[in-house]
């Protein structure tokens, strides 16, 4: 886990709202419900994501001991994705279409036949490969209401944010200059001023924007 060794690169989120009463049982239940589900080649989905215990990405069973570190909830956010290169898929689909036309003595294929062939080829290719696995850890400080997520990719952070909010029923606000200023609790007057403040022009003759 990024929090356990080495340098740290993370995105900070602020948790909005209060931790629910009886949260231990409730969150454990919710984490289990939103645990990672492995992909199967026959599934239509090509991506799957969900929670795993930290440092044990192949496990999908949880108890309080695996996720609660004093006042921190630590979890891994695992995402698996089948990544079939488009050129490879295209070549296999074209080959399969040719074979199908010969076997069935056809000159042309309907849209539905093409779709069926594509699904079948995709499944065969998925059977030959393992999905790509990515696990990113998160650490939720329940006392401070801060979540640290070990990725700064905006796509991954957005996905994580939605998944966290669905699991725990609490909103997350990502760190940024405006949110950080509001988190300092400067008072309603200053918050209003923040909403209208304009960029400073440090260089004469250059526009501020």
């Amino acid at each position: 886990m990024g929090a356990l060794s080495g340098t740290l690169s993370y995105k900070m989120f602020y948790v909005q709202g209060e931790v629910a009463e009886g949260w231990q049982d409730l969150y454990l239940q919710q984490i289990r419900k939103n645990a990672f589900k492995p992909l199967k080649p026959e599934d239509e989905e090509e991506v799957s994501e969900g929670w795993v215990p930290v440092e044990r990405p192949l496990q999908i069973s949880f108890d309080l001991h695996t996720l609660l570190f004093d006042h921190f909830i630590n979890l891994g956010f695992r995402q698996d994705k089948y990544a079939i290169p488009s050129a490879l898929l295209k070549a296999h689909v074209e080959e399969a279409e040719r074979e199908y036309m010969i076997q069935n003595d056809k000159q042309r294929l309907s849209k539905f036949e093409r779709e069926d062939i594509k699904i079948m080829v995709k499944r065969k290719l998925k059977e030959k490969q393992l999905p790509r696995m990515k696990v990113i850890d998160m650490s939720w400080d329940l006392q401070k209401g801060r979540v640290r997520f070990w990725s700064q990719s905006s796509n991954v952070c957005e996905l994580f944010q939605g998944y966290f909010e669905d699991t725990f029923g609490l909103k997350l606000l990502p760190a940024n200059p405006y949110i950080n200023a509001v988190q300092l609790e400067p008072g309603p007057e200053k918050i209003e001023e923040l909403a209208v403040v304009e960029p400073t022009n440090f260089i004469e003759g250059l526009p501020a924007r």
Binding site: M1, A3, L4, T7, L8, S9, Y10, K11, M12, F69, D70, F72, N74, S139, D141, K144, R146, R148, Q152, P174, A175, N176, P177, Y178, I179, N180, A181, Q183, L184, E185, P186, G187, K190, E193, L194, A195, V197, P199, T200, F202, I203, E204, L206, A208, R209
Partner: protein, 193 residues
């Protein structure tokens, strides 16, 4: 304006904060008093990126040495470029943190914390989190001072003219240039951010 718009349109505060911090650090050779943390050293280290505000593709990347003190970085500032990320060294009570601070999202990356003493996995985790939190609190306290100063009349009356002088100065700046009287830290002590 909704929250998403506010987040998008106020991003400039991140780079203004880093420019203010750079100015203050250079004025006082890195030494500054930070609310609730006492005397701290905040130094711009060996990596600095400046970007044009409108054309983000116009970027100057400086690596190695002390770019914050280089004439090239000053020229970029004089052309209207603003800090988009910087490697910063924070020293408190003999302990040292190193981080890359990104202006747009106020994100911390490549954070090196002081050496931890604990051996046990759990204890090591708590100690590391404690040290990261201490760094976050120091940056938040500095940001609080910046925000209150930024929203006060002293920003335009004293801080901006002094920063303009600093940007145009060819040599280093004397500490007297920093308008300490314009600095505001707000009515209450920072909670945390």
């Amino acid at each position: 304006m909704d929250l998403v718009d506010l987040i998008e349109t106020r991003r400039f505060l991140g780079s203004e904060f880093m420019m203010w911090l750079w100015f203050k650090s250079e004025s006082y050779d890195g030494l500054m008093e930070v609310a609730e943390h006492g005397d701290i050293e905040v130094l711009f280290d060996d990596a600095l990126v400046l970007e044009a505000y409108l054309a983000e593709t116009e970027r100057n990347t400086f690596k190695g040495g002390a770019p914050a003190y280089s004439p090239e970085a000053k020229v970029a500032l004089q052309q209207g470029k603003r800090v988009s990320r910087a490697k910063i060294r924070v020293i408190k009570d003999g302990r040292e943190w190193l981080l890359t601070l990104k202006a747009e999202g106020m994100d911390f990356s490549s954070v090196k914390i002081p050496a931890v003493l604990s051996r046990e996995e759990d204890e090591k985790f708590y100690e590391r989190m404690y040290l990261v939190e201490e760094l976050e609190d120091i940056i938040a306290a500095l940001y609080r001072t910046f925000i209150f100063t930024r929203l006060s009349p002293g920003w335009h009356d004293a801080m901006v003219p002094a920063m303009k002088e600093w940007i145009m100065a060819e040599e280093g700046v004397p500490s007297e240039l920093y308008p300490a009287q314009a600095e505001q830290s707000g009515p209450a002590v920072a909670k945390s951010a």
